[in-house]
């Protein structure tokens, strides 16, 4: 077993595991028509929430409910805590109504992070689909903050339309950098779009990395991840150096509620980030 790929000691919640801690919304930023980022600071003094890229928090909207949401901010700075959420149902809709000054319950961080140490001294390829860029953004911040530790870094990002791109200011900065090969593609172009058109998996074939010495990090809809991992394997990136982040129903995030089970794994504590070779056989089973 490659010792560098074992999960490192990970940040743990500082509060009672089941109790949300109120955080103040400092700023709301609309990413797209249905997706927003919240910048949060702890109520009653500085209590920074240290996290590893890829970890998530449980966010509680008063009286409505609690949902798992990845941490999407910069792990290198203490404040604010950033979460990027798409409105899809009851809780996320209520969260989307929060304004600066409102409170949101936070508990975490939970789960495994992207194993950044496994990528040291290697090429890195990051493949994101849609909102899947949110849990990868802290990883990108981390890699860029420790740029000398890594060789080539490629970021491949795909969304349905140009309007669905999140973190557009970052994307502009990242595509302008020479030490990061960032490519953005959309499934359907609109007039004025001059970038790539087509699914993100198509970009894998020609992305600038040396497959024999590359670590891959993938997040997006499950079908997108399946095809991406296939493409990566076709290029020669072995499953034990490919990682993905899975989504399952989560009610507790601490291994008690049973909802997130995936074979013998609990996605909340054994994941959400998994090494591909550890879940590849499970991913072949339908309705697991």
């Amino acid at each position: 077993m490659d010792p560098t790929i074992e999960s490192p000691a990970r940040p743990q919640p500082a509060t009672e595991p089941m109790l949300p801690d109120p955080w103040r919304v400092e700023r709301v930023h609309a990413e797209t028509a249905d997706t927003f980022s919240l910048e949060l600071t702890p109520v009653g003094g500085p209590r920074p929430l240290a996290f590893s890229p890829g970890q998530f928090n449980m966010l509680y909207v008063f009286g409505v409910g609690e949902v798992p949401i990845s941490i999407s901010g910069n792990p290198e700075i203490e404040s604010p805590l950033v979460h990027t959420t798409r409105i899809v149902g009851t809780v996320t809709r209520a969260m989307g109504k929060l304004k600066a000054g409102d409170l949101l319950g936070v508990r975490g961080p939970y789960g495994s992070g992207w194993p950044v140490d496994a990528a040291k001294g290697r090429d890195v390829v990051i493949v994101a689909g849609g909102l899947g860029l949110a849990p990868l953004r802290p990883l990108i911040h981390h890699l860029l903050a420790h740029r000398a530790d890594y060789r080539e870094i490629a970021l491949l990002y795909g969304t349905r339309t140009p309007q669905d791109r999140i973190f557009r200011a970052d994307l502009r900065r990242w595509t302008a950098r020479r030490d990061l090969q960032a490519q953005v593609t959309v499934d359907r172009a609109v007039s004025g779009w001059t970038g790539h058109v087509g699914v993100v998996t198509k970009l894998v074939a020609h992305a600038p990395f040396d497959p024999s010495n590359t670590v891959a990090f993938v997040c997006g809809p499950e079908v997108m991840m399946r095809f991406t991992l296939q493409e990566l394997q076709r290029r020669g990136v072995p499953p034990e150096r490919s990682h993905l982040s899975l989504e399952r129903n989560m009610k507790c995030a601490i291994g008690f509620c049973g909802h997130c089970q995936y074979g013998s794994m609990f996605v909340c504590k054994d994941g959400p980030v998994f090494r591909y070779d550890r879940v590849r056989s499970l991913m072949k089973v339908r309705e697991l």
């Binding site: 089941m18 109790l19 008063f62 009286g63 409910g65 008690f256 509620c257 339908r286």
Partner: protein, 377 residues
């Protein structure tokens, strides 16, 4: 079988002195909970005295059936397990996680004070001791600790009863979880009913158990007493209503996610979740958020849940396990296979409840047998 410990000679509590057990426990601040007859079944509830025990009753169980019957004698524990398990005391079906109130500038969350009365569980069967040990691993053995469970567990005094007969759906012998209690109890009783004699062989399994025993009138067992107790255990072992071949069971189930038997059982299963509700080891829960009419006060509740419900696996875009086939497979594979990887033990103790209380008599031992018999090697 363990040889009798010469330093701790077997001890007997006479039936006539049995009420003293309630008095001693009450004196130590314990509320006794245990078996009693209600609505045609033996359930677990608070007991004020031995007269509330199901004296002279027994149960007849088979797939989908449970019936109470009169016994010829006045045995206090002459039956096996019913629809309840001790889980309901340690991991209540509904518990509040917190309350929250609106405040001038947002809301505040109030931690819950855990009610953990000192309970003495009277009549815990060996399979049930194992089920408690399994839930201990789930709630106390991991990275996070369920503080409420921990408190209730610490306040529980466990009085085991060794089974003198087995039920029609029992298979603890196959799971190596019974019928004799070997560990995890404070006191263990074996009921002796022979030639007009009614008494209990009583053993202490912990320091507190030994203290309670010391307060009870007791005397050394005769050779006949120990022989009678051993015969009771042998009788139960010999009469298991079901059996399960556990050899290589983890790999058997991991190897067979596409076995045609899953479709077959799904055609019978009503997805009613009875099996998971009666199971003493099932630990899944859901949370519900409620507010009062003013919207000023909110509460979060944690409630037993079941992998048989459609919403259990809901993610945006739909359920991960929309078919009953996938849900039954999840339940059985978790119980008998993935549980071993997760907690180092099977999730099944062979108590038979899921067989007895299934409205259509689905029997996991049969399902496993069918898969084993036609599994590709």
């Amino acid at each position: 079988m363990k040889p009798p410990d010469p330093c701790r000679p077997a001890t007997v509590l006479e039936r006539a002195d049995f009420p003293r057990l309630f008095e001693v426990l009450a004196g130590r601040g314990y509320q006794v909970v245990g078996p009693t007859v209600r609505d045609g079944a033996i359930v677990y509830d608070a007991l004020d005295g031995p007269e509330q025990l199901p004296a002279g009753w027994t149960d007849e169980q088979d797939g989908g059936t449970y019936r109470l019957k009169r016994r010829a004698d006045a045995a206090l524990f002459g039956y096996v397990v019913g629809p309840h398990s001790w889980k309901k005391f340690l991991f209540p079906p509904e518990q509040r996680v917190f309350r929250a109130h609106r405040t001038a500038d947002g809301f505040e969350v109030l931690p819950e004070e855990v009610a953990a009365p000192k309970l003495a569980f009277l009549g815990v069967r060996s399979c049930e001791l194992h089920a408690i040990a399994i839930q201990d691993r789930v709630f106390l053995g991991g990275r996070f600790v369920d503080a409420a469970y921990q408190l209730r567990r610490a306040n529980a005094f466990l009085i085991a009863v060794n089974c003198g007969q087995a039920g029609g759906t029992c298979f603890c012998a196959s799971m190596h979880t019974g019928p004799k209690a070997t560990t995890g109890y404070d006191l263990a009783l074996t009921e002796i009913l022979e030639n007009g004699r009614h008494a209990f062989l009583i053993e202490a399994g912990s320091a507190t158990g030994a203290e309670v025993l010391a307060e009870l009138p007791h005397h050394p067992a005769t050779a006949a007493d120990t022989t009678a107790a051993e015969a009771a255990t042998a009788r139960a072992t010999a009469h298991m209503g079901r059996s399960l071949d556990t050899r290589g069971i983890k790999d058997l189930l991991y190897r067979n996610p596409d076995h045609p038997r899953w479709k077959d059982v799904a055609d019978r299963c009503l997805s009613c979740a009875n099996c998971t509700m009666v199971c003493p080891t099932c630990f899944c829960s859901n949370v519900e958020d409620v507010t009062d009419l003013t919207g000023e006060h909110a509460e979060r509740w944690r409630k037993w849940d079941s992998c048989f419900t459609l919403s259990f696996s809901h993610v945006t875009g739909g359920a991960v396990r929309p078919t009953v086939k996938a849900r039954y497979r999840q339940w059985l594979t978790h119980k008998l296979a993935s549980w071993i990887d997760q907690f180092g033990t099977s999730g099944c103790v062979g108590c038979g409840r899921c067989i007895t209380w299934c409205p259509v008599a689905i029997d996991l031992t049969e399902e496993v047998r069918a898969i084993r018999e036609s599994s590709p090697a």
